[in-house]
């Protein structure tokens, strides 16, 4: 009997909590959002969720089998990754998208780095980033069941009205996990079970709100801020992605800094880039800072009275409400980051505006070769203002805008041509703005881009002189785009290979300018 007794080191009691249950809590917390997504976007979305989860589990199983590692499916972490990925992609993507995303997420970000607990960035977000790079078009197409429209943030950017109530409940365009209410229920559940702590979500939302309020140009307008908080996956990211324990800091102070970094980056991406989904990149970047935070932030054990010293027990003791140190730290970080941003912004604002102005004038001169000087005609400017910033041509040219008209004059003051600044919002990455030069007889002299953020090596090729030359010295009513190339007529333009979206946007904007020239300037 005696020799059968077990011996081990203390403690001999262990809680019943284990990794599998921790992950199960996360899965449970995601269910309200998933169920709502399926209910809102249709049964096909369920297929997307299942495909994503199944692919994640299968990848992990196969990797462990091939590498002769212990089967780790029972910790449910693969299910969490698959489910999270399904929630951050559009609800009606082709099934190969979630499958490839899950395989990438599990294999490249998790298994290759040593499996559970060893990944250096959030696998679901890495999978999403991979999908966004590989399948940009389908990953930004949020239409479903023939319903199409803009996501709330895109609508807001276009100046349309957005219902925060609908966004909060989830009746909006967006990825599958679109219901803020359902996500918050899950988030509160996680807080209740102790799976996550308040530091990360609170610091993200707080810093995001402050930075947006200070710099997005709308001040602290509650509706504007609420729309941004409810949109773009901020809540999902703050409660479910950023709090991923593996890729977030261990210490409270570290978590606050990490959350503040995510909040600030997400806000910056929102208003300085066209990307509404900057949240996922903000988290990925912050993930990379985590090892540093854990290295340099060493929490001090609490306590007073060093060895051999005595403490004066009669000294008045702090009682009642005191501001937690961490809150002070958070405020300080926010203030410093905000101050630095504000400083840089004010210092560079005038310079940037001046540079933009000079670039624009340069572009006009380029497209009106005979002009010695560029001037503005009040009558023409007034006519442009009559457009009121609305889409030009009622959609005949897509989402095209006429921004301004400038006049090119020679040394003796005679008008030699007109420069029209036209924008199409339908580039692959949003805005494309160009100067279109016309002579006084209706001939197009040339085009020059002032805003162009297309994909390098593809859409950017429209900026090649040879491509732009297709427009030069043409006297036509409008241009048509030939996606396959082989243009023969004057009004036919060859698309840049593989970048018909960009090419089409350029042609639309040029056509809008031609139309405006004929119908307004020449009248």
């Amino acid at each position: 009997m005696n020799n059968m007794l077990n011996v081990s080191s203390s403690p001999h009691f262990r809680s019943s909590h284990n990794t599998g249950r921790e992950m199960l809590y996360v899965i449970l917390s995601l269910l309200p959002a998933t169920i709502f997504g399926v209910f809102h976007f249709g049964l096909y979305t369920l297929a997307v969720v299942i495909a994503s989860v199944a692919a994640a589990c299968l990848t992990e199983y196969c990797f462990n089998m091939v590498c002769r590692r212990k089967n780790s499916l029972r910790d449910f972490s693969a299910v969490v990754t698959g489910l999270l990925l399904a929630l951050v992609i559009p609800p009606h993507v082709p099934l190969y998208v979630p499958i490839l995303g899950s395989v990438f997420a599990i294999l490249f970000t998790k298994c290759f780095f040593g499996g559970l607990g060893q990944n250096f960035m959030n696998p679901a977000l890495a999978g999403r980033a991979f999908l966004l790079i590989s399948f940009g078009k389908v990953m930004t197409d949020y239409s479903y069941d023939a319903v199409s429209g803009a996501t709330p943030l895109a609508a807001l950017a276009n100046g349309e009205a957005v219902s925060v109530r609908d966004m909060f409940l989830g009746f909006a365009m967006g990825h599958t996990g679109v219901s803020i209410a359902a996500l918050l229920i899950g988030g509160l559940f996680l807080l209740y079970t102790g799976t996550i702590t308040w530091e990360i979500p609170v610091s993200i939302v707080a810093v995001f709100t402050v930075v947006m309020g200070l710099f997005a140009g709308h001040g602290f307008d509650p509706m504007f801020l609420l729309t941004h908080i409810c949109g773009g996956g901020l809540i999902l990211g703050a409660f479910f992605m950023a709090t991923d324990p593996v890729t977030s800091p261990m210490t409270t102070t570290g978590q606050l800094i990490y959350g503040a970094l995510i909040g600030a980056l997400a806000a910056l991406f929102r208003f300085y880039s066209g990307m509404a989904d900057g949240m996922s990149y903000a988290i990925i970047i912050a993930n990379l800072v985590v090892p540093l935070l854990d290295k340099y932030i060493i929490p001090q054990p609490w306590g007073v009275g060093k060895k051999g010293q005595t403490v004066d027990l009669d000294a008045p003791q702090k009682k009642g409400f005191s501001v937690p140190r961490s809150a002070v730290v958070l405020c300080l970080i926010t203030a410093i980051a905000g101050g630095a941003l504000a400083g840089v912004y004010t210092m560079t604002k005038d310079q940037i505006e001046y540079n933009q102005m000079m670039a624009k004038l340069q572009a006009y001169k380029e497209v009106i070769p005979g002009a010695a000087e560029i001037v503005y005609d009040d009558a023409l400017t007034a006519k442009v203002e009559e457009l009121g910033g609305e889409v030009y041509g009622e959609g005949a040219f897509g989402k095209a805008y006429i921004n301004e008209v400038a006049v090119g004059v020679d040394e003796s003051g005679n008008t030699v041509g007109y420069g029209i600044s036209a924008t199409s919002m339908e580039g692959y990455d949003g805005e494309i703005t160009m100067a279109v030069g016309m002579d006084t007889e209706g001939k197009l002299l040339g085009i020059s881009f002032t805003t162009l953020n297309e994909t390098a090596g593809m859409g950017m090729l429209v900026n090649e002189d040879s491509w732009k030359a297709q427009f030069a010295d043409k006297e036509v009513e409008s241009f048509v785009l030939l996606k396959q190339g082989g243009s023969s007529a004057d009004n036919e333009i060859d698309s840049v290979s593989g970048a018909s979206t960009t090419s089409g946007a350029v042609v639309n904007a040029v056509n809008a300018a031609l139309d405006y020239y004929r119908n307004v300037i020449m009248q």
Binding site: S10, R14, K306
Partner: protein, 448 residues
């Protein structure tokens, strides 16, 4: 309102198995074994020889230096040997072995009641020292050292530790219920040494009978109070008791005296009472036998030196499915490989488990998922996860920088870990290395 400390965990208190079983006095039959080291400090020096006849209450080993403690025979009989015997420790330790003649003759003068009013403070302290009293909560720090701080007038509180936060153990609870006057009178003796001190008796809220009994015993004495505490492990650690009483956390390396406190276990106070008022050395203590593996869990008054086997037999023996026996409680106790070892001054319980939770945990172990539960559970504010990473890498510098040397090995982090990482076992192995490294480094710096 009950007080709550930072960190900690809430394991199943599991007190109901033995809480209602009154103490049973156990008269040992077999030979008695007395390790010469039953306390923190230098081992005692044997003062008997093989073949000597001894009586209960006779000194058999005397303190060797200031931080050391006397050891007394607890039965009458003959010294059989002074040799290395198995104890709970991994390697056999030097022990005095006495053959029990079964007569339990007591040395003359021991156990005679005497009014302590006639004693001077120096005499009281001397009696405590002579009686070989050490911290009976488990640490075994010689009590006379603790009661002799540099400036006795700076001590504001004498804290009686009746928290008993370890799951399963009920011997402190039973003592306070059955003999509250032992604790209170022992406290009165200690209070005489500290003119400015008040007595605070700390008891977890799940012992209402003990609280009531003590409250009755202290009635009318202004210097006494009872402080009920929330049921949470490790409520009974010195740090948390000092915080409960003063509102300050001790720095991890500090002693309670730095905050004007002295903390003593209730059994230590009872031993002080017996020593001062009855001139009786520390011969007997309460031991709880509990756990699902014990046939009849209960509380026993056990003579020090009795074999664990005899105590277990008194509790009806072990169930067939017993997997593990702990000396002490489940959170900090030591698992013993066999039961033929002696019980010492420090042992307050034998906990018999039918389910080895460590074995189950090892089967569920996964990689650390950095969930941070260990950090939130640490009652000292350490970062066990970061310490574990450093220890795994063998990074001594970082382990020390993370205050790893302050760890008290209470086991909260390991209890709460969902990935079932062996944090405390790792720290136990790594801490001695880090301490040696730290000493060497400090010596090097000092010689510069």
């Amino acid at each position: 309102m009950s007080y709550r400390f930072r960190g900690g965990v809430h394991p199943n208190p599991n007190k109901e198995l033995s809480a209602d079983k009154p103490f049973v006095t156990l008269q040992p039959k077999g030979e008695m074994v007395y390790p010469i080291s039953q306390h923190i400090g230098k081992p005692a020096r044997p003062v008997v020889r093989r073949g000597d006849l001894v009586e209960a209450g006779q000194l058999i080993a005397e303190a060797d230096g200031f931080v050391s403690a006397n050891i007394y025979a607890t039965v009458s009989g003959k010294v059989k040997a002074i040799e290395h015997r198995r104890t709970y420790a991994a390697v056999p330790a030097e022990c005095i072995v006495i053959t029990n003649d079964g007569e339990y003759r007591v040395k003359e003068g021991v156990g005679v009641e005497e009014d302590p009013a006639g004693l001077t403070n120096a005499q009281i302290l001397d009696r405590i020292k002579m009686a070989g009293i050490v911290g009976l909560g488990g640490a075994g720090f010689p009590t006379h050292v603790k009661l002799a701080p540099k400036d006795p007038s700076a001590i504001r509180y004498i804290v009686a530790n009746g928290a008993e936060c370890e799951p399963g153990i009920t011997c402190d609870d039973r003592l306070m219920r059955e003999k509250p006057e032992w604790v209170v009178e022992g406290m009165r003796c200690v209070l005489r040494l500290f003119p400015n001190a008040k007595a605070v008796i700390c008891i977890e809220e799940n012992k209402p009978e003990a609280i009531a009994a003590i409250q009755k015993a202290i009635q009318g004495d202004e210097r006494f109070s009872v402080l009920p505490l929330q049921v949470r492990y490790p409520q009974g650690s010195e740090r948390n008791l000092v915080h409960a009483v003063t509102g300050y956390y001790m720095e991890s390396a500090a002693l309670p005296a730095s905050l004007g406190c002295i903390v003593d276990n209730v059994w230590t106070l009872a031993a002080i009472y017996r020593a001062v008022c009855f001139n009786e050395p520390l011969m007997e203590r309460g031991v709880t036998v509990t756990g699902e593996g014990a046939v009849n869990p209960g509380n026993f008054l056990v003579r020090i030196g009795t074999s664990a086997q005899e105590v277990l037999e008194a509790a009806g023996g072990l169930k067939e499915e017993t997997r593990k026996i702990l000396l002490g409680g489940p959170m900090m106790g030591a698992a013993i490989p066999r039961t033929d070892i002696p019980l010492t001054k420090q042992n307050n319980a034998l906990y018999c488990m039918t389910v080895d939770e460590v074995e189950l945990a090892e089967a569920q172990q996964t990689n650390c998922i950095r969930c941070g539960r260990c950090i939130r559970s640490c009652p000292l504010g350490l970062s066990p996860q970061l310490m574990m990473e450093a220890a795994k890498r063998g990074d001594l510098e970082r382990f020390i920088a993370l205050h790893g040397l302050d760890c008290i090995q209470c086991g909260c982090c390991t209890y709460t870990c969902p990935a079932k990482q062996p944090l405390v076992p790792m720290f136990k192995l790594f801490k001695p290395r880090a301490m040696a490294y730290n000493r060497a480094k400090m010596a090097k710096e000092a010689s510069k």
